[in-house]
Subunit: 202 residues, 2 copies
Amino acid sequence: MAKGEQTRQAILARAFEIAKTVGLSGLSIGRLAEDTGLSKSGLFAHFGSKEALEVAVVEEAARQFVELVMTPALRRPRGEPRVRALFERWLQWGQRPGGCFFVAAVAELDDRPGPPRDALVQVSKDWLDTLATAARITIAEGHFRPDVDPDQFAFDVYSIMLGFHTYQKFLRAPASLERARESLERLLASARAPAARAGDRR
Amino acid sequence: MAKGEQTRQAILARAFEIAKTVGLSGLSIGRLAEDTGLSKSGLFAHFGSKEALEVAVVEEAARQFVELVMTPALRRPRGEPRVRALFERWLQWGQRPGGCFFVAAVAELDDRPGPPRDALVQVSKDWLDTLATAARITIAEGHFRPDVDPDQFAFDVYSIMLGFHTYQKFLRAPASLERARESLERLLASARAPAARAGDRR
C-alpha cells in the first residue's frame, strides 16, 4: 500500500469509530482533525467534502464487514455450513460495542437523500445478493429444496437480524440471541431438502 | 368527553401528525403553538414540558394503533384468522404516508434515555404481548401445534414487519409486501397443527 493510501486508511478507520458513536451526521472534518491531529485542509484534500467523507465511511464499514463477516464465512464448505457461518459472524458483528453500524446508519439516512444514502443502499443490496447467492449454492448442493426462493430467503434472514437488533439494543430483551438463532433454525428446517443428511448441515 | 379532554385530544392528533413528518425531536411546543393557533403558555399548561409532550405523542400513536389495528382484528374469530387480521392491519398501518411511526421513533429514541424512550419500550412490549397472546389462543383453538413458543412467534412476526419496513422505505424494493406476506405464510405453515382444517384458517 502506498503511503498516501495508508494514511487515508488510518483516517477512515478513525472516522468509522467516531461515526459509530455519534452517527454519520455527528461526524465532521473538524472533529476528525481534532481526533487525528491532522489539519482540516489536509483532510479536505483527502475527502473533498463532509458528504464525500460520509460515503467513504460507509465504504469503510462495508470493507470491515467483508473482512470480518463475509471472507471468513466464505471459507466454510458450500451450502448450509456457509449459510450458518454468514449468520453467526453477522450476529457477532452486531454485538460489537454500539451495535450494528448499518442498522444505525439506515435509520439515520433513511430520510436524507444523497450520495451517502445511495452508497448505503448499494452496500445493503450487495449484502442481500450475497445471502441470496449463498441460498442458491445451498440448493445446488442439495441441502435446500429446489423450490426455495433465494431472494425470499435473503429477506427472511435479513428480517431475523433486524428483529435481533431491535430486541437487543432497543428492548434490551435478555433472550435476543436465542430468539434469532431459533428463527434461523426454523427457516433452515423449512428450506431443507428431505434428502439432506444431518452430516451436511454444520 | 369533557371540553378540556376534547381540546387535548385535538392537540395530540395534530402533534402526532407533526411528529410523523419531522420526528419526535423536531416537534416543539413552539411549533405546535404556530400550527394550532393556541398560545405557548396554554400548551405548556396541557403538557408541562417538551418531554411530557413526546410521551403524550407516543401514547397517542398507541391509541391510534389500538383503534386501527388491534380493535378491528380482535373482532375476527379466535385463532389463525385473528393472527392474519393483526398482521394485515399492521401492514396497512405501515403503508400510511411516512411509514410506521413506531419504527421511526425506535430509531430516533434508541440512544436517548428518558421517559419518551421508556414509554415507547412499554408500548412495544405491550404489542409483542398482544401477538404472543394471539399465538397462545391459536394453540388453544387447535390451529397451531401445542409446542409453538408464543413469544418466539411474536419475535418472528415482529422481525418480518421490520424487514418489510426496511425493504419498503429504505431499499424501496418493489416486492416488499409480497415478501412480508410470503414470510408470514411460511411462519404459519411451520406453526400449524397437522389436524387444522383449511376451513379454520381464514
